[in-house]
């Protein structure tokens, strides 16, 4: 019955969402308790922190003298923030089911002491009397840090001295008060600073412009890129200046800065970060290959073309290794790429163009892959498919293949070779005449330079002329 009464009281409290006004004033860093025996640490974040074991408490405090008692209701209003961990440096800890011994570092970080000799240096010959067992269920309150393999990695006395209070150990801070609207100062100086291109290439000319506004007016506007003064405008609320990005780029970022001095002697400066894009991709540099899929041992021509750029130099890279340089000022550069890998492998080719001003432009990547050999494409075609007895007819076999055709053959139905032609030229053979009517089969066969073969057949019908 008592239980039920308790619970009713519980919901009564829930309904009365009274502000947490405490009879005994408590402040951050206090130890608190209510009618129960448990003692909590009152953190700077307004939450209470649980001491999971008495040993944890005594690593921080010698006694319970400073504990303040508040009402059960007030305690209930304070949410639990978490568990207090051991004070750093004081004791070593372990869990019963794992022989590893840990030192405690700031913020509940456990650091495995990897050898007994290190433990002796840190905690003396009787180090093993300074190890507490942490119940398994509280092990998760700690986080794992770097192991201590060397006694210089950790100093117990320093760790302990640095941990003066739980707030600091847990890095708890006071949440800001209810954000009342801060007084907005009357809007005064406004500066708009813009750049035509915030990712320019070396050699590009960018335009920097400033518009400033202030009741009393503008005295002077200065525009800088890094520490170089680009322009100064006086007694004007707008200012524009051009700046050429140096061709020799030592740093890929630059800072554009506008400094505006107003009549009332206040100053306002704004900055824009410029990212120098040394290798802008696709800016008028084209790359193509005769074939992007080739066979083992083959090569293919690759062309890099920059028709709209005042080319000084074109370089072609295969897998980022420079393979060819064309420097005569022509806008096209070619390279025969022979990857030399096995089936399934590929290489990546790109071009890099440098123009007269030293600006560079990079092509897209082109991938050339090595695939299995394909059989030739073969066609066999008689001049006529139907002839009379006594007539003859020409049969022509044509073949093509990316590797080139080694030979073409025409065979009869019993696979006797009727004609052998070397090379890729069409191969023609006259068949017939036949005395008997019937259907006669012929085969056309072709082999490519890799010895892959393919054949096709055709049928010639021989009929009686009425």
């Amino acid at each position: 019955m008592k239980f039920i009464t308790n619970l009713i009281a519980i919901f009564a409290l829930l309904v009365l969402t009274a502000p947490p006004a405490s009879a005994e004033t408590i402040s951050s860093g206090d130890l608190i308790k209510a009618s129960g025996s448990a003692v909590y640490y009152y953190g700077a974040d307004g939450k209470r922190y649980v001491f999971p074991t008495e040993k944890t408490f005594f690593s921080w405090y010698d006694n319970f003298d400073t504990v303040k008692t508040i009402s059960d209701g007030d305690l209930a209003m304070l949410p639990i923030g978490g568990n207090v961990t051991y004070r750093p440096g004081v004791r070593m800890v372990k869990i019963t089911t794992d022989p590893k011994t840990y030192a405690v570092d700031t913020g509940g970080v456990l650091r495995h002491i990897t050898s007994e000799s290190v433990a002796i240096i840190l905690y003396g010959d009787n180090w093993n009397t300074k190890v507490d067992d942490i119940p398994d269920a509280f092990f998760t309150n700690y986080t794992m840090g770097d192991p201590i393999t060397n006694s210089a990695d950790y100093n117990p006395a320093e760790a302990m001295a640095a941990a003066t209070e739980i707030n600091a150990d847990k890095n708890l801070t006071t949440p800001p008060d209810d954000p009342e609207d801060p007084e907005t100062p009357p809007s005064a100086n406004t500066v708009q600073f813009g750049v035509s291109d915030s990712t320019p290439r070396p050699g590009d000319v960018i335009t920097l412009s400033v518009t400033a506004d202030q009741e009393e007016g503008v005295d002077e506007i200065q525009i800088f890129v890094d520490e170089i003064l680009v322009t100064t405008c006086t007694s004007n609320n707008t200012c524009t200046g051009d700046y050429q990005i140096p061709v020799i780029v030592d740093d890929t970022t630059r800072t554009a800065r506008a400094i505006v001095t107003f009549i009332n002697d206040t100053q306002l400066s704004q900055e824009i970060e410029l990212q120098i894009d040394e290798n802008a991709v696709g800016n008028g540099v084209y790359i193509y290959a005769d074939r992007t899929v080739i066979k083992e041992g083959q090569s293919t021509g690759v062309t890099v073309d920059a028709p709209d750029i005042a080319v000084r130099r074109i370089e072609i890279f295969v897998d980022n290794m420079g393979q060819k340089v064309c420097e005569s000022g022509i806008r096209t550069c070619q390279l025969s790429v022979a990857p030399g890998g096995s089936i399934g492998s590929s290489v990546t080719v790109h071009g890099l163009v440098t123009d007269d001003l030293g600006r560079t432009y990079r092509s897209e990547n082109l991938v050339i892959s090595i695939a299995e050999n394909d059989s030739p494409l073969v066609t066999i075609q008689p001049d006529k498919n139907t002839i009379y007895t006594g007539e003859t007819v020409n049969v022509t076999v044509e073949a093509s293949d990316q590797d080139g055709i080694q030979y073409i053959e025409i065979l009869d139905s019993s696979r006797q070779i009727l004609k052998h032609c070397d090379g890729a030229a069409p191969c023609t053979y006259q068949v017939g005449p036949w005395a008997q009517t019937g259907s006669y089969t012929f085969y056309g066969l072709a082999a490519d330079t890799q010895n892959a073969t393919e054949e096709q057949s055709t049928i010639i019908d021989v009929i009686n002329p009425n």
């Binding site: 649980v50 305690l75 209930a76 590893k100 398994d136 269920a137």
Partner: protein, 260 residues
């Protein structure tokens, strides 16, 4: 005094690491309950290769009816397996509160506590004797839970449905069932577990929990040298039994059994 003895035996164990006693065989996997030979505590072994602590018996009995089906491993082996965290209540089964705060919570999936806004709702959810369905969670374990939104209407939470929506602790913790993990111990404990069964397509992660380096070699797979805390991963896409060993300590042999 007891403390000193414990600490001394601890040093003896560290020294014992040097003796090649031969790895003990251990067969368990994600979802197994394990305990040490001389410790009473039972742990849940999860897909991440870590053991999860039941902070109290009440938590255990929300998940299991008895202590059957617990794999006992030797203490050294247990010590090799890192602690991953604590098990929380099975969702839906009970309501919980802490002693020093009258708020009553339902437990939702993933150890999320949701305050019940009124007694009427509590009664709708857990019937007339609802107030006997509330467990006190010790303050120190409250941090294992996270706070969710209030239950303002009974329709927001159906205890039976929520309880049925997770079938095991791994699901409740959101572990990926296609993962498994093995700890690499010393030459005494060997690989932990030394025999594991996973479904085809599973990824197994080995983590060196030993201060000495190890190097895994198996049929068709080989790890780089793994220093303390280094990991090695392999996905098993074929059914079969895959034996492997430590190249630096060839007595450390174990196997992964891949099934459909």
């Amino acid at each position: 005094m007891k403390n000193i003895i414990a600490a001394l035996s601890c040093i003896a164990l560290i020294a014992g690491m040097m003796l090649p006693l031969g790895a003990s065989a251990t067969a368990f996997g994600p979802g197994s309950l394990i305990k040490g030979e001389s410790f009473s505590a039972v742990y849940y072994f999860a897909e991440d290769g870590k053991r999860y602590v039941f902070p109290n018996e009440k938590t255990y009995f929300t998940w299991y009816e008895n202590f059957d089906n617990i794999t006992v491993v030797d203490d050294r082996t247990l010590g090799t397996i890192p602690i991953g965290g604590n098990v929380t209540y099975k969702p839906g089964v009970k309501m919980v509160k802490i002693t020093t705060d009258p708020t009553v919570y339902v437990v939702d999936v993933g150890g999320v506590l949701r305050p019940i806004a009124s007694e009427q709702i509590a009664e709708t959810l857990y019937n007339i004797n609802w107030n006997q369905q509330i467990d006190d969670i010790p303050d120190a374990f409250f941090i294992n839970y996270t706070m969710g939104s209030d239950i303002d209407a009974a329709a927001e939470f159906k205890p039976a449905d929520v309880a049925n929506s997770v079938s095991n602790i791994s699901e409740n913790k959101g572990f990926d069932s296609s993962q498994a993990a093995i700890s690499i111990g010393d030459t005494v404990t060997g690989f932990v577990p030394s025999s594991i069964t996973v479904e085809v397509g599973s990824t197994v992660t080995w983590t060196n929990q030993d201060s000495k380096p190890h190097k895994i070699k198996g049929e068709g797979f080989q790890s780089p040298t793994l220093e303390y805390k280094d990991t090695y991963q392999r996905t098993f896409n074929q059914v079969g039994s895959f034996e492997y060993y430590d190249e630096f300590n060839e007595g450390m042999v174990a196997n992964v059994s891949v099934v459909n």
